[in-house]
Symmetry: C2
Subunit: 346 residues, 2 copies
Amino acid sequence: MLEPTPLDERKQRILKAVVSDYTVTGVPVGSQVLAAKYFIALSSATIRNELADLVGTGYLQQPHTSAGRIPTDRGYRYFVDFLMAPEAATPGVRRTVRQAFESAPRSVDGILEKAAMVLAQVTENVSLVTAPEVSEARIKHVDLVSLEPQSVLIILVLEGNLIKQQVVHLERATTQDDLSRMAAMLNRKVKGQTADELSARLAALGPDRDEQRQIIERMVESISVHQAQRQTVVLHDGVRNLLRHPEFVEVSRLEELLELLEQGAQLAGILQQVAFEKEVEIMIGRENTSSGLRECSLVLTTYKMADRVRGSIGVIGPTRMHYGQVVARVRLVSQATSEVLAHLGN
Amino acid sequence: MLEPTPLDERKQRILKAVVSDYTVTGVPVGSQVLAAKYFIALSSATIRNELADLVGTGYLQQPHTSAGRIPTDRGYRYFVDFLMAPEAATPGVRRTVRQAFESAPRSVDGILEKAAMVLAQVTENVSLVTAPEVSEARIKHVDLVSLEPQSVLIILVLEGNLIKQQVVHLERATTQDDLSRMAAMLNRKVKGQTADELSARLAALGPDRDEQRQIIERMVESISVHQAQRQTVVLHDGVRNLLRHPEFVEVSRLEELLELLEQGAQLAGILQQVAFEKEVEIMIGRENTSSGLRECSLVLTTYKMADRVRGSIGVIGPTRMHYGQVVARVRLVSQATSEVLAHLGN
DNA sequence: TTTAGCACTCTCGATCGGAGACTGCCAAGA
DNA sequence: TCTTGGCAGTCTCCGATCGAGAGTGCTAAA
């Protein structure tokens, strides 16, 4: 890692111009283009000198000797940290997002799916959405349904109207009437508790009351962090958008990325760790530990749901992306999603 | 469409050899290769004559004058209808499938997801799975949960332990106690009925009993055909497999296909109409109405669940695929899926 | 009906060369 | 000291050319 080299104002303007031009055209940008489009007062020779410096300090690179310059990961990082102008989503985009949610089904899953869809659409990249983290969510309602004599379906309604289900096997046959009574009792006992609280109380309960204990254990399991992590679903949409980017003409890159998307677990890990601190987190190229993301950037943020519950939402695209615009749109969709989720019950 | 030309036995053998060789190598197969590998008794010149005939009758085509022959859609169709030897899945594949389901979560969605995953894996193509068609499924249990004073969550457990949920808004505020009483009553009334029966009885009920009527209406809606069709989810997996096939090096084809997969509705239509008659339905190339499937083949069948309920499962791949093997594996996964679904409640 | 022989066609890959785009460096000018 | 014009050098890209290789269709003989 190079130590942070301070950039004087002109170098900053040149770096900014290179990033801006390159993200739009996709072509390495040369000194003449810069002089003509962005720095009429300067000659191309002067800009060449500056460009050589920026290459030396690691902000830019040349694909080959006689080509223009393109940003390095470091150059993009400097750009997003210091140079990027804040952008606002255009009215057209706002309308698209609003309309998308209008046709969303009134369920958490349905809304998140719509969010993934519209985010992919407006950013023209692949969108990612994790299911909400529920280990701290309070339980709102429990229901027990007899499937077979010794087999019970547990239905949990959590804060934010999120529904979890789990099948449990009992040692003794139990009728639906028994189950209904048990459900009524459980509702009195567990309502308003979180999984953590429940599991603490469970430990204090002792080994008696077999069926009930078994059921509560399974309830805890189905909403605990461990479980959630193991099978966290990462929704994604918009893979077709990637095909339009010239950086994916060689199929091998696409293949790595697809594998990452289809297996999900590794991505889930990245999404869970990240993005709970800053408002929007950007990870550029090799900053990602995953080798499949070597030439991709992630723009991530979170969405909220019933205050305590939340998940991650964002996009993944080539490092050469219009960061300002993507950030604005990711933020917009995240806010809209939170809002729609908040109104779910009304 | 050419009228069906009868093929003598030697032409059949040659067509079969061309299809077999081409599906493995991916290279147009010439008269010399055929003579050497499949017809030692014949000279290449004889085979050339036969090949010319097969081109004339539309079973084969030449990419260009000096290339070997490849099957046309018609050639593939003849092959799968009359020439294809039945194959059985290998023990290795059987084991893979069995193991995949062992780690599946005990829910319909989870099992179908696993099915899509393992089918993509063993066929090395894109797998497709529709959600089960539930309009004829009997209702097993109803539960009503108060989300907000005027907002109720309906939870329906159907035959096969399939869970449907729906949010409904009431005109009057209703407490959870009221809802629980109503649920108990509904359970007595609607248990064992199908959506169709329920909707018929609803019509006879008259306009009184507002809340209850509203709730039943929504129940019917959430499991009726129309609703199901509108939002039938088509699971798919294994897009990365396509990248390995040389027919998808040009990205435009991939793009069309991805769009079809990501929007889903059109595919859902194809999957629903098809494959309820024969055991395994094969659609080859231009037999598909969708332009995105011009150069693809579908191999589809159904899976069962609680007898009445069923959905479609299959794969989509390039027309040049090993049909015998794919058919065997699609059938295997479909059977395994049905079996696992049948044991869901035990 | 089958086969050997042969001329012909087309693709594919390698090679080559020129146009174009930029650069780096140098020396002169502000 | 910074800037600039000039210029030689380098590299990619594109199109043309060419030869090898593969495979065919046709013809005439078996």
